[in-house]
Structures are given as structure tokens and as C-alpha cells.
């Protein structure tokens, strides 16, 4: 639906937002993006996973193995304090960006 570049540029932002409320595991994050975007944005495991790795290395998210009865353990990702700040900042930038882009592309609406 959207092109690759757009998807790639927003992926981090999307992931951080989705785990803001509670920790989620990798596959769940992908499914959630797909569901909330009504199928218009979807990530395969192979492309989502490196982003998770990168976010984790940057201390924005932290992964932790969680075991539940009768299931294999899964790696859950949660937002770190740094990640939380970063997400807040990103939201501000995003809003400003959308506003600014709208100013440019639809001057009459502004």
C-alpha cells in the first residue's frame, strides 16, 4: 500500500508507540501494526526483527524472556525510560512535520 521508504522511515516510531502501554513480543507487534493499519502497513518478521535489534542496542527498548505455563518462552520488548523520552520527542517532531508538510502541500488549509 505505502512504499518501502515511507514504511521504513516510520517503523521505529510505530514500534515504540505500540509497546508504550505494555510490553509485547515480536510477532505480536507485527500483527498489531497490520491490524491497526487495517492491513495497509505490514511487516514481515524478517524486516521487523532487525529494527527491534537496533532499538534495543540503542537502549530505547529492552527485551526480556518471559515464560508462560504451557508455552515456549517469548521475548517481550518494553520501552526504556530513554525510549519513552525519545518517543515523546518523536511524537512532537512528527506532529510538527505533518503540520509543516501540510502547510507546504495544502497552503489553503492552513
Amino acid at each position: 500500500m505505502f512504499n518501502r521508504e515511507l514504511k521504513k522511515g516510520s517503523a521505529e516510531f510505530l514500534i515504540l508507540s505500540l509497546i508504550e502501554a505494555r510490553p509485547r513480543h515480536g510477532y505480536e507487534i507485527g500483527k498489531l501494526i497490520e491490524a491497526r493499519s487495517k492491513g495497509r502497513i505490514n511487516f514481515r518478521i524478517g524486516s521487523l526483527y532487525p529494527i527491534l535489534c537496533r532499538l534495543e542496542e540503542r537502549d530505547l527498548i529492552a527485551g526480556r524472556w518471559v515464560e508462560r505455563a504451557g508455552e515456549r518462552r517469548r521475548r517481550f520488548y518494553r520501552l526504556t525510560p530513554v525510549g519513552r523520552k525519545y518517543l515523546a520527542a518523536q511524537r512532537g517532531i512528527w506532529d510538527e512535520f505533518v503540520l509543516t508538510v501540510n502547510h507546504v502541500v495544502r497552503p489553503d488549509h492552513a
Binding site: 518478521i45 524478517g46 542496542e57
Partner: protein
């Protein structure tokens, strides 16, 4: 269900990730694929369709690999740099406050880094803990024994005085005549006192008779130290004059263990060596003098003016008057001793010497202690070098982070400070652990170490020791932090930014790294050579024959109380020896004044018939002792010429010609080719009117002054000879048994009790045990230094291994290319080993130079081993070479297994 873990593992080729991280990645991906597969099944697909659907999630495996691997470092450094740039900006505010906050940030950031690498942090902390702990422990000994002033008021004014023979450097105890003259004529000291060398008293009248460690002292003894008694008083002036009743001061321990802490202990009577003493005081447990072997009794020593100048055996000391120097005191003493020389014209002229009391107490242990401290400091240095290498290796990995931070505006000073803060924190962590180790080590030393050391009761971890540890920590932190920190000074710093994936190692960092390993090898070699020398010396010492049979021989000390007259003494021994000889299993029994290997009682000058009587000639001394006829058989001392003494040699009360037996050394030195049997000698100071003594036998040499002393001339006389009878009051009993030596003890005790119920038997030791104990100090320090050397070897092996592994990993691509171009495994192996060998050879060279100068200080600790002993140098070097080659062989083997395809993909 498909095995997704297996599937991922087959497809994902990760390299350069830690094993745990790699496993995590695989597990996480497999779990996600399984989730996808499960969902596909739920949506109605059959298993094979579901599997295919799940597999579409990851199609471009190489891209995934690349992303996972690249996310590993670069970004992390970027974030940190960004954060620190903000901190740097805060710092630019200037002023003291911001410097302080900057420091706090350094510490916070440092802690974060350490927490992030727990494996690294722990390795470093433990390495340092070992080094710092060992140093702290040893320093606490050196501090208590050598550095701290004596625990008495104004300890510098406490001076020991003695005499020595002309041309002799060590101080000998004084004779009574000398002491009395000095006591009465000297003007330099506020007070003077004396202590005799006797080691114990026989305590009787309080249950079973017992030997209690104690000394005889003169009246001023306690007031010189200025230590207040726990109860009662010290001695009163004049209490040591002839004709005064006996007085004794007891230790707190004795008061507690033998007198049940009796509150009315004062004036209670004690029977010591058969004489009555009244207890006048109790000294607190902290008072220990003599310092090396705590005593429980200080009995008043009555000093009557002697008939002649000898015997010598008094340790005299005094408290200097204010404003009088040691030199003045020595000049005065020397003058008084010269007057005594004139008073006894036939005696060997002596000179007076003085020495600070502390030096007198600790001089014997100071060299071994300082050598041990030096060895341990070397060990710490090796540990520090190892840590520096680890940090340096990490610094090359962290270079990108540092480069970024500097590119983003952090000043170089700031970065260096940050790195130093980190290394100091590491060393403080190590130091804290080390302190714990030191505490345990000191406790262990006090419990199991060689007990005969002065001032051990003062050893502990105190503020001085803590300060030492702190300084060592900060010092080593800076030492091992400085090399990596200086690496930031490189102009090529921007290079690391250019490539995201490669890890960097500048040529200079590698050079530093190599130099450190060379240094480490050199230091380890110095320590190993030192320990090699000690081991060799110890082996030689252990193989020295004491000259006697050591198995199946039981020894103990027995001393007769003062109620025995000289004549009764010889009667007592004759009967007692007969009784013991009659016991079953006793092969031979004898008594002696001196016992091998190190319990020599006296030495005596002698003159061989025909020598002149010039009293200024070089003094010739022999170890002289009275023994019973069967002494030689009891100890298996071989007869070389002539005969042993026999019971028929003397009939009590009659005057027979005096006879002696000499040892082989004396026969060789003074009778050369001549047969000494029948020759005559005189003993005592050269004097033509001394009685002549005829040599009737020559026996093998026996060590009486320690296994490490050379054999000296020795003269044996019969114990029952008139002039020697008085000396036989305190004798060692020597029993050779057929079976186990210990089993005979109760029977001997019973025989002794049957003759006199008040006589205690001293510590019972087999001759083997005595030999063992005489080597305790040497054995202890040999083991200790050997242990340090082993640790040093291990640390440097780790150092070499780490460096070569690191360099192999850096050269993987190069090696891959070589292999691809046809290099054979042996070429690769040789190439890597050569690198290790180069380091090794430089290290060995440096180590030899170091060892040549360092081992010189050990000379006094070595027994018939040169401090440049070739065998020690060569064997330890070979050992180091073998270990070092092994340490480089392992990574070299790994290098030969490099798969060129993998290596080339590495980039």
C-alpha cells in the same frame, strides 16, 4: 510441526556475535516464525501451506544477517556520544561546581559501562583483587613489624646495648661484669635494664609440674617501657640487689589460665625452678617483650658481681636521656667496656655497640619480609599490566564511540578523564574485594604462618593499611588506564567513523599492547627466577644432613631446680639415665647441653697446645657442650677416630685427667694431617694456667646452629666433669627407640616423676619434628614466593594468549587471503607462533636483566645458591617458554582453521 529453531539456524549465518546473543536471536526468530505458522494453521491452511506461509516472513536471509550484526555496535556508540555531548555542554559552564558535577557524571557513566560488561568487569576486578589483596596483606605485616614505632612511649629513645669482638659486626649479649660496670658508670641513659636469655621456668607446687616461658629481668625493666601493669606494680629499684626476696610479674594470660584471674593475686607465692617468688604485678596482654616469643613470667634477676668476665648472655637496654644521641651513648659505652677489658686482662677485648630497640627486634625478619613485599608488588604490577592489556583491547573496540564523542565536541581532556574515572572505579572495586582477601590472608597467616616473628600481635588492617590500599588502587587504576586513554591522542581518530562494521586497531595501540605483554613476561620471569632460587636453596637446605639420625629419636628438655647441688645434679642424671636405659624399647639414651639442628647453648674460645697466648690474635671459637657417654650412640653420631666417653672415665669426687672429644671439622682445621688423639687443648680465654684437656676421640660433624650454618669446630666434654657439673642443670634428653618414638613418652614421664615429682618435662619433639620446625621460615617463604611465581606465570600466559588471539582475530581476513592463495596450515601456524616468539624473546631478555639486579637483594636468604644460579635461570626460563608457546599455540591453531570463504565474508 516443523522445527523452526533448526530452520533458522540453518539459514542464518551470523558471525561476530557473542554465542549467547546469537542463541537469543535464533530463539526469538524461531518463536516468531512459530507464531506465524500457528496463526496460519488457525486461519484454515493445512500444515504444509502454513509452513510455506510462515517461511515467506523471512526471505532475504543475508540482509537480515547484515542488519542484526550491524546493529550490534555502531548505534550504541552514537547514542552514548549524543548523551555525553549534552553532558559536555553542561560542563562548559566552568567553575568548581561543574567540575564536581562533571566528576559525578564520569562516575555515573563509568558505572554504567561497567554494569554493561559484567564479564569484563568481574575478570578485571578479580585479577586486581588478587594483586591488591596480596599486597595489602603483606603490607599489613610490614607495617606492623617494620614500619610502625614500638608501642611504648617515646620509642625512639629505647636503645639496646651489647658488645662485640673487634672486627665483628653483629652485636652479642653482654657479660654480667660489663653490664654492672655500665649500669653504675653510664650517664647517657635515664634508666637501664637487663634481660637474660633463659627461656622458661619450671613451675611446681601448682598441680603437675610444668615449664612456663619466662625470662629473668632486672629491677628497671618495666619502668623503661613505661607500660602500666594491669594489677600491682613493676619491680622496685634495688629489688635486683643480692639478698632481696624473689619477685615475679606474670602475664595476663598466666593470671587467667593458671591463677583463675584471682583478684587477690598479689603477693601469692610461685615456685619457679625450686625457688620462691612473690607475685607483685600482672602485665596486660598487649605487653610482649621479648617480642618474638611471648613469655608469661618476668622474674627478678639478681645480679651478683661475677668472679670472671664470662658468661655472656645478658640483653641490656636503656632509655636515652633527652638530648643525648645514640652516637654519644655508644662512645660512652665503648669507654666503659674498655675499662672492663683492662680489668680482665686475660679476656678477649670487646667493644661496645648500641642499636635502636626496634632494629634489634626486627632485623632478622626485615630482609625476608621486604623480599616478599617486593615479590608481591611484582605480582600486582603483572596484574596491572594484564588489566591494561584487557582495557587496551577493549579501547580499540570502543574507539568508534570515543571518536564519535570527540567529533561531537567532547574535549580530549574530558574523554581521558572519563576513561581514567572508569579504570579507577575498576581498581577500587578490585581493591574492595582485595581488602576482604587481605583480611582473610592475614588471619590465615596469624593462624598457620611461622609463629616465631616479632610483633605479630600488632598485625592487623588499620587506617595506615587502608590508606596504602587506597593509594595502590588509585595508582594502579591510573597505571592501567593511562595506556588506553593515551590512545585517544591519535590523529587517525576520524577513521573509525568512516566504516560502520570494521573494528579498529591502530598500529600504535597494537604496539602498546605488545610492549605491555613483553613487560609482563619480563616481570613474571623475575618473579619465577626469584622463586626458582628460593626453591633450589630450600631443596639444598633440606638435603643438608644434620649429622645425626633423625628417625626413632625423641628429644625433650629437662631442668633441675636450684635445690640440687652440682654433685646432686650428676648423681641425678646418672640414676635417671640408667632408669631410662632400662625401659623396654630404648636402644640408647643420652643428655646434652646443645641439641641439633639449632639449639646451641654456648661457644667457647680454645687454645691448641703449641699456640701462643696473644689475647689479640683472631679469636677461635668452638661449640662446646657437655654430654653423657651414650649421647653419640643415641643420635647415631659416627665415631671417626679414638673412642667415645665411657661411664668408667670418671669416678665421682675424684680428680681425673680432663678428656674431650672433638668433631671432624676441628680435627681438620687444627690438626691437619696429624692424628689429634692424645693432643691437648685448653678452653676458655687464652691463659697458660688453664688446665689441659686431652682429646680421646673424633666424631662426625653435627649442625647445632641451624642447617644453613657451616660446620664449626665442636668440643664435647663429659657432663659429670667437675667444672661442667653446674652446667648440667638444664639438659636435653635424647632417646633412641626401636619402635615409635612417641610411645615411650609416658614411661619417661613416670621415671622422672618417680625421682622428683616437681620436675616438669619440656616440649617433647622427635628429631624429625625439630628438623622440620627449623626449616619452617624458609619453607614458608619458599612456598609463598613459589605461589606468587605460579600466579605470575598464569597471568602472563593469559596475557600472551589474549594478545595472540586478538591479533589472530584482527588478521582473519589476511589469513583467509593467504589460505586462499595457497598458504598451508603449517605456514599460518608458523606465522602466528613467530609473533608470540618475538614477544617472548624480548620479554626473556628484559626479564634476565631485571632478575640479575633484583635477585641480589635475596642473597642473604639463599643457602649455598648463588643469586645468579644458572640452573634456576635456565629452568624457569624454559618453563616460561613452554607455557608461553602453549599460550600462543592455541590461537595459532585456531588461525589454521580459518575458512577462507568465511574470512573474506568477514568484511
Amino acid at each position: 510441526m516443523p522445527d523452526w529453531t533448526q530452520y533458522v539456524r540453518q539459514n542464518l549465518r551470523l558471525s561476530g556475535l557473542r554465542a549467547e546473543r546469537e542463541a537469543e536471536v535464533i530463539e526469538d526468530l524461531a518463536q516468531q516464525l512459530e507464531d506465524a505458522y500457528a496463526e496460519a494453521l488457525r486461519s484454515g491452511l493445512n500444515p504444509s501451506q502454513a509452513e510455506a506461509a510462515a517461511k515467506t516472513h523471512i526471505t532475504d536471509w543475508p540482509a537480515l544477517e547484515k542488519h542484526v550484526e550491524s546493529s550490534r555496535c555502531g548505534r550504541e556508540a552514537m547514542m552514548k556520544a549524543l548523551q555525553n555531548r549534552v553532558e559536555d555542554r553542561d560542563l562548559a559552564g566552568g567553575g568548581k561546581f561543574s567540575l564536581f558535577t562533571g566528576l559525578l557524571q564520569d562516575v555515573r557513566f563509568g558505572l554504567r559501562m561497567l554494569r554493561k560488561n559484567p564479564g569484563f568487569t568481574l575478570t578485571v576486578a578479580f585479577t586486581l583483587a588478587l594483586g591488591i589483596g596480596a599486597n595489602t596483606a603483606m603490607f599489613s605485616l610490614v607495617d606492623a613489624i617494620l614500619l610502625r614505632p614500638l608501642p611504648y612511649p617515646e620509642p625512639k629513645r629505647l636503645i639496646v646495648v651489647g658488645t662485640n669482638q673487634l672486627g665483628e659486626s653483629r652485636m652479642s649479649p653482654m657479660g654480667t661484669a660489663d653490664f654492672l660496670a655500665w649500669r653504675d658508670r653510664q650517664q647517657s641513659f635515664e634508666q637501664v635494664a637487663v634481660l637474660d636469655g633463659a627461656g622458661s621456668f619450671a613451675l611446681s607446687g601448682m598441680g603437675a609440674p610444668e615449664r612456663i616461658p619466662g625470662v629473668g629481668v632486672s629491677a628497671n625493666f618495666f619502668s623503661i617501657f613505661g607500660v602500666a601493669p594491669l594489677k600491682g606494680r613493676g619491680f622496685l629499684p634495688g629489688e635486683d640487689r643480692p639478698g632481696t626476696p624473689g619477685a615475679v610479674v606474670v602475664s595476663e594470660r598466666f593470671w587467667r589460665d593458671h591463677l583463675d584471674s584471682d583478684p587477690n593475686v598479689l603477693n601469692r607465692a610461685l615456685t619457679l625452678d625450686g625457688k620462691h617468688y612473690a607475685i607483685v604485678g600482672v602485665m596486660p596482654g598487649s605487653f610482649r617483650f621479648p617480642a618474638s616469643d611471648p613469655v608469661d613470667l618476668w622474674a627478678i634477676r639478681v645480679l651478683s658481681p661475677p668472679a670472671g668476665r664470662p658468661p655472656f648472655g645478658l640483653h641490656a637496654f636503656g632509655r636515652l636521656k633527652l638530648g643525648v644521641s645514640m652516637r654519644q651513648a655508644e662512645a660512652e659505652l665503648d669507654e666503659i667496656i674498655a675499662q672492663v677489658n683492662a680489668q680482665y686482662p686475660s679476656s678477649t677485648p670487646l667493644a661496645g655497640v648500641v642499636m635502636p630497640m626496634k632494629e634489634w627486634m626486627v632485623s632478622e625478619v626485615s630482609t625476608p619480609l621486604l623480599v616478599l613485599l617486593g615479590a608481591i608488588a611484582l605480582l600486582l604490577l603483572i596484574a596491572v599490566v594484564n588489566v591494561a592489556n584487557l582495557l587496551l583491547a577493549r579501547a580499540t573496540v570502543r574507539q568508534r564511540e570515543i571518536a564519535l564523542r570527540m567529533a561531537l565536541g567532547a574535549s580530549r581532556k574530558r574523554v581521558v578523564r572519563q576513561l581514567l574515572a572508569e579504570s579507577t572505579m575498576l581498581s577500587l572495586l578490585g581493591g574492595t574485594l582485595g581488602l576482604l582477601l587481605a583480611y582473610l590472608a592475614v588471619r590465615a597467616f596469624l593462624a598457620f604462618g611461622p609463629g616465631q616473628m616479632p610483633r605479630l600481635n600488632e598485625v592487623g588492617i588499620n587506617s595506615g593499611v587502608l590508606l596504602f590500599t587506597f593509594v595502590v588502587c588509585v595508582g594502579s587504576g591510573i597505571l592501567f588506564g593511562i595506556a588506553p586513554a593515551l590512545e585517544t591522542n591519535r590523529p587517525e581518530l576520524s577513521d573509525p567513523l568512516k566504516d560502520a562494521n570494521r573494528s579498529f586497531s591502530s598500529a600504535s595501540a597494537h604496539r602498546t599492547h605488545r610492549a605491555l605483554v613483553v613487560l609482563e613476561i619480563a616481570l613474571a620471569l623475575v618473579l619465577m627466577i626469584g622463586s626458582g632460587l628460593l626453591i633450589r636453596s630450600f631443596v639444598r637446605l633440606s638435603n643438608v644432613s644434620p649429622g645425626v639420625q633423625t628417625d626413632h629419636v625423641l628429644t625433650t628438655a629437662i631442668s633441675l631446680s636450684n635445690k640440687y647441688s652440682d654433685q646432686q645434679i650428676t648423681q641425678f642424671w646418672r640414676q635417671f639415665l640408667e632408669k631410662v636405659q632400662a625401659l623396654p624399647d630404648v636402644k640408647a639414651v643420652g643428655i646434652t647441653m646443645s641439641l641439633p639442628p639449632n639449639l646451641l647453648a654456648i661457644t667457647n674460645p680454645f687454645t691448641v697446645e703449641g699456640q701462643d697466648y696473644d689475647r689479640h690474635r683472631r679469636l677461635q671459637l668452638a661449640e662446646e657442650m657437655s654430654v653423657s657417654p651414650d649421647y653419640f650412640r643415641a643420635l647415631g653420631i659416627p665415631l671417626i677416630r679414638g673412642r667415645f666417653f665411657s661411664t668408667s672415665d670418671r669416678v665421682e669426687g675424684e680428680k681425673d685427667p680432663m678428656i674431650v672429644i672433638i668433631n671432624e671439622t676441628m680435627a681438620k682445621q687444627y690438626f691437619d694431617a696429624k692424628d689429634p688423639i692424645g693432643s691437648r687443648i685448653q678452653t676458655g680465654d687464652p691463659n697458660p694456667s688453664s688446665p689441659w684437656e686431652t682429646i680421646v676421640g673424633v666424631v662426625g660433624d653435627v649442625k647445632y646452629s641451624g642447617l644453613d650454618s657451616p660446620s664449626e669446630p665442636a668440643i664435647y666434654v663429659p657432663y659429670n666433669e667437675n667444672s661442667w657439673a653446674g652446667w648440667a642443670r638444664e639438659m636435653y634428653l635424647v632417646v633412641q627407640t626401636g619402635g615409635s618414638a612417641q610411645q615411650i613418652v609416658p614411661a619417661i614421664r613416670a621415671e622422672l616423676a618417680s625421682m622428683d615429682g616437681t620436675l616438669p618435662i619440656g616440649r617433647v619433639r622427635t628429631m624429625d619434628e625439630r628438623l622440620d620446625e627449623s626449616l619452617m621460615q624458609q619453607r614458608f617463604r619458599t612456598w609463598l614466593v613459589g605461589g606468587f611465581a605460579a600466579l605470575a606465570l598464569l597471568l602472563s600466559a593469559i596475557g600472551i594468549y589474549a594478545l595472540i588471539s586478538y591479533s589472530v582475530s584482527q588478521r582473519t581476513r589476511e589469513i583467509g587471503v593467504r589460505v586462499a592463495l595457497g598458504a598451508r596450515p603449517s605456514n599460518v601456524l608458523g606465522m602466528v607462533l613467530r609473533e608470540g616468539l618475538k614477544l617472548l624473546l624480548s620479554g626473556l631478555l628484559l626479564g634476565w636483566i631485571g632478575a640479575f639486579s633484583a635477585t641480589r637483594v635475596m642473597r642473604s636468604l639463599l643457602y649455598s645458591t648463588s643469586s645468579t644460579d644458572v640452573v634456576s635461570f635456565v629452568t624457569t626460563s624454559i618453563m616460561l617458554i613452554v607455557v608461553a608457546l602453549l599460550a600462543s599455540y592455541i590461537p595459532a591453531r585456531r588461525a589454521t582453521q580459518v575458512d577462507p570463504m568465511v574470512a573474506l565474508r568477514y568484511e
